[in-house]
């Protein structure tokens, strides 16, 4: 084959190929959006409309926050080909630590936050060190953590609830942002995003890489702007954007950036895709895994602060089974437990789906046992659909 043939073929293939690549990705997002719509409509009718009041939608978003934040950390762990079962206990323990510092020690809020997050880092580091450097399978390391962290929590609190937390503490989980503030922030972030995207286009042109049509890009910006400002307006209609939702959104954006635009993120995907090839390409597999777990621990700390603040207490049973919600959210969001595949946004949408189900079923007064059965069924269904569509492709 001559050179001209080779290059011309790949050049005109590139545009079409982009479409080909977008198709399956969009399919995944579409399926999830479709699922969300079905859930919404279903509960709307079952609850005579109270499911979709702005008040409940606001609640729904707030409930997504904790699972969503856990899922952001978890999805990195899963992409790297590992698992973390200790999340629920770790969140309980960190939440307990936060409550103890706040209620018993009486530290100011800022120090409580700093110490809780530091403790999160340490626990994450602990898990990561055993997995990465001591080569103990992550299933076992984190199963051990699941038991031990819960045990420490019960020991620390003596099995009692640590309450009530201070007023300052309740800001994290219970407050709402002023309407104007969230609007200005949203517009600011959107503007920054557009400027950044336009600069990327400029760079592309500089390197002779073809951009998508400018019109197409503007349409994309418009859709994103309408969607996000719409959500802000909706939340403002009740009492404003809940602080945990702001935290979730910020972490989601940072998480997406880390996963797609940094060397660290790329290496996490590579390790999950083929550890040996990654090692031989000079990637420090151990260090990367350690970092993934440490970062995850930090995120669990954030979730724990929100949890204690919302409950107004540290409880020995807090965070029970949260690991399963987080794992389910990742998997529903398209992550593969085999490693190498997954997105942060997908995981957060997965968390939103889980929260929608929880919320709707409690509004309908569905007995708890049914709630578990339904959630289990949805998880199974999501993974089955994923593997069924993959097999056909």
């Amino acid at each position: 084959m001559s050179e001209q043939q080779a290059t011309s073929k790949s050049a005109d293939g590139a545009n079409q190929d982009l479409l080909e690549k977008l198709k399956p990705m969009n399919l995944q997002v579409l399926v999830m959006l479709f699922a969300i719509i079905i859930i919404m409509v279903f509960f709307y009718f079952m609850t005579d409309g109270s499911y979709l009041t702005t008040r409940n939608v606001s609640n729904l978003f707030r409930q997504t926050a904790i699972t969503g934040i856990l899922a952001i950390g978890m999805v990195f762990v899963i992409i790297s080909g590992e698992i973390d079962l200790s999340v629920g206990s770790m969140m309980g323990l960190l939440g307990g630590v936060a409550a103890i510092l706040d209620v018993w020690v009486g530290l100011p809020l800022s120090l409580t936050i700093v110490f809780t997050l530091a403790a999160g880092l340490i626990l994450g580091f602990w898990n990561g060190w055993w997995v990465a450097y001591r080569k103990v399978p992550s299933f076992i390391v984190t199963l051990a953590g699941m038991l031990a962290f819960r045990g420490i929590l019960i020991g620390l609190t003596d099995g009692t609830t640590v309450a009530p937390t201070s007023n300052a503490m309740s800001i994290i989980g219970q407050s709402y942002l002023p309407d104007m503030f969230s609007m200005v922030l949203a517009v600011g972030v959107l503007a920054a995003y557009m400027i950044w995207q336009q600069r990327v286009r400029g760079q592309n042109t500089q390197y002779g890489i073809q951009n998508e049509a400018q019109g197409m890009a503007f349409t994309k910006y418009a859709v994103i702007a309408v969607f996000s400002l719409g959500i802000v307006l909706l939340l403002n209609d009740y009492r404003g954007v809940p602080t945990p939702v702001l935290i979730l959104t910020a972490l989601m954006l940072i998480g997406t950036f880390v996963a797609t635009k940094t060397t660290f993120g790329r290496r996490v995907y590579a390790i999950g895709g083929n550890v040996e090839a990654s090692r031989l390409s000079g990637i420090d597999v151990e260090k990367t895994k350690l970092r993934v777990y440490t970062m995850h621990g930090l995120l669990v700390g954030v979730a724990a602060l929100i949890l204690s603040s919302r409950l107004g207490a540290g409880s020995p049973s807090a965070g029970n089974m949260a690991e399963l919600d987080a794992i389910a959210a990742c998997v529903i969001g398209g992550a593969s437990l085999a490693g190498g595949v997954g997105t942060v946004v997908g995981a957060v949408i997965g968390a939103f789906i889980m929260a929608s189900l929880d919320n709707g079923m409690s509004m309908m007064n569905v007995p708890t046992f049914w709630q578990y059965v339904v959630k289990g069924g949805i998880l199974l269904l999501a993974v089955w659909m994923d593997s069924a569509t993959k097999r056909r492709a």
């Binding site: 084959m1 001559s2 050179e3 043939q5 080779a6 290059t7 073929k9 790949s10 293939g13 590139a14 079409q16 190929d17 982009l18 080909e20 690549k21 990327v200 760079q203 592309n204 500089q206 390197y207 002779g208 890489i209 635009k261 940094t262 060397t263 660290f264 790329r266 290496r267 995907y269 590579a270 895709g273 083929n274 040996e276 090839a277 990654s278 090692r279 031989l280 390409s281 000079g282 990637i283 420090d284 190498g340 595949v341």
Partner: protein
């Protein structure tokens, strides 16, 4: 004579890409048909269509078996007809024994209980037929690649194959192993098994086939009796132009010693008492191409892995680069210090299958495209485009998952990965395995460009013509010992073979 298999006007698309564009193929009973073509020309795809891996309806065109149309939906359907395929990448399960592999999914059982004596007897017969003298209980992972290939054939025969499709079976084999394989294929032909044989090694193609079918870019070029074609004819038809010379030797300056290796000793991973590398030491000069020849199992790969710092078994010994001693601790350190290695086993150690071609290429030198850990996509994409163009990786676009590329093009992409930066020493372990003649030529040219820039290259290869064709100096290894360190002047294949089997070690 009536055709056993006839494929007519096969068209196969992957999205917008047409991998096959109206290919015809005819196989007569009791004949060996070779399929030749460049990397990505569609050979493997055509065979996957034939074997029902791409089900009926997924492609256009017709397949006839003994004159009757086949509309296979799965590989089981074609197995029933007696078509068996041995894939480009080995598919045996390393943890299981030969017996278990052969009867995987087709166990002989009575009332649900496995009939081990019957399977044992049958496996022993099959192994005898493929001339493999090992116990059926041997774990496949303990066999060499060549022996594994024979087990694959035994497995195909166990399904009463009448047509055997071999997709680049000889790529990982040494010359002697290949000879055994070719004898076996010819014997099978004598016993009535037809064969479709894919290989980039045109010598063996010419040697065993009755007919040769050449395809280029998914289009059927010609099918002719092997006796009427020379290897040059085949190359011309494959490449679409004449290739005057296979090894583009160029003069280049050789400088001071840059790398001092050894003495290195290494022990086997699973059997720590067995030595794989014995007191190996050598030197490499700046801008030199050092060929390392030896049979599979001679310790070449282990020695290279020790130098690159990624050998997993016990090993000792040092490496000195530019007069500085290096620790043999990890691939990462080796890369930082200026030693890069393209690994031998592409599927296990090379590609990250689900990542895109582009991301696979930039994996090793990701930091070059980042500021404070943040990637510059434009810079990265630009570099990817350039690598794809300069190595002529045939892909519809850099976004495609690398597992969808043809085997040879995957190899080129991995090569591109380690050429993104300029290391001092580049180790290439079987760099041209599974690569077509045209692309080989490109790779050799690239190697000469690199040495002219002052990079030193160690090239491990089982193909003696290649070693003789481009090395400045040749190391001969045998059973872990460096038997000879010979300047490539008036060297012949015989001298190298004699050296490998001689007593004593090199001075």
């Amino acid at each position: 004579m009536a055709n056993l298999i006839e494929m007519r006007g096969i068209v196969k698309r992957f999205g917008p890409v047409k991998a096959l564009d109206g290919v015809d193929l005819r196989l007569e009973p009791g004949k060996i048909l070779s399929l030749c073509g460049e990397n990505g020309s569609g050979k493997s795809t055509l065979m996957k269509v034939l074997c029902g891996i791409y089900p009926h309806g997924d492609y256009e065109g017709q397949i006839l078996f003994e004159g009757e149309e086949v509309k296979a939906r799965t590989i089981k359907d074609t197995e029933k007809l007696g078509i068996a395929i041995i894939h480009q990448e080995l598919t045996l399960i390393k943890e299981l024994s030969i017996l278990e592999n052969i009867f995987l999914g087709a166990e002989i059982s009575t009332k649900g209980l496995m009939d081990f004596p019957a399977m044992h007897k049958r496996t022993a017969e099959l192994l005898k037929r493929v001339k493999l003298d090992v116990s059926p209980q041997t774990k496949v992972g303990d066999l060499g690649v060549g022996q594994q290939q024979l087990v694959e054939i035994a497995k195909a025969l166990s399904k009463k194959a009448r047509v055997l499709v071999l997709d680049e079976p000889s790529a990982p084999l040494t010359e002697s192993e290949t000879a055994i394989l070719l004898d076996l294929v010819q014997e099978l032909r004598a016993s009535g098994v037809s064969c479709i044989y894919i290989s980039h090694k045109l010598g063996e193609v010419k040697h065993i086939s009755d007919d040769i079918c050449v395809i280029r870019d998914g289009v059927h070029i010609a099918t002719k009796p092997a006796s009427t074609m020379t290897t040059d004819d085949i190359i011309t038809m494959m490449v679409g132009r004449e290739m005057k010379q296979l090894f583009p030797r160029e003069d280049h300056d050789i400088g001071e010693v840059i790398l001092k290796v050894g003495p290195i000793n290494a022990w086997d991973i699973s059997n720590p008492r067995m030595k794989k590398v014995v007191n190996a030491s050598f030197e490499l000069r700046k801008g030199e191409i050092l060929g390392v020849s030896g049979l599979v199992g001679s310790g070449r790969t282990e020695l290279m892995e020790c130098i690159y710092g990624c050998y997993r078994g016990n090993h000792e010994g040092g490496v000195e680069l530019n007069g500085r001693p290096l620790k043999l601790a990890s691939a990462r350190e080796a890369l930082v210090q200026g030693i890069a290695m393209v690994p031998e086993d592409r599927k296990r150690n090379g590609i990250v299958p689900i990542m895109s071609v582009g991301q696979n290429i930039t994996l090793a030198y990701l930091n070059e495209f980042a500021n404070y850990g943040m990637l510059s996509m434009a810079k990265e994409t630009n570099a990817i485009k350039q690598s794809i163009a300069s190595l002529r990786v045939k892909t519809p676009g850099p976004e495609l998952a690398i597992r969808n590329l043809s085997g040879g093009n995957q190899q080129k992409a991995i090569l591109a990965r380690f050429l993104l930066s300029t290391p001092d020493v580049l180790i290439l372990d079987e760099p041209t395995r599974g690569i077509d003649v045209g692309a080989k030529y490109e790779i050799y040219r690239l190697m000469f460009q690199l040495v002219k820039k002052g990079i030193s290259i160690i090239m491990v290869s089982s193909e003696l013509p290649e070693v003789l064709g481009i090395s400045d100096r040749v190391l001969v290894m045998h059973e872990g010992v460096i038997k000879g360190d010979l300047p490539n002047e008036n060297l012949t294949q015989e001298i190298i073979m004699d050296c490998a089997l001689s007593e004593g070690t090199a001075q």
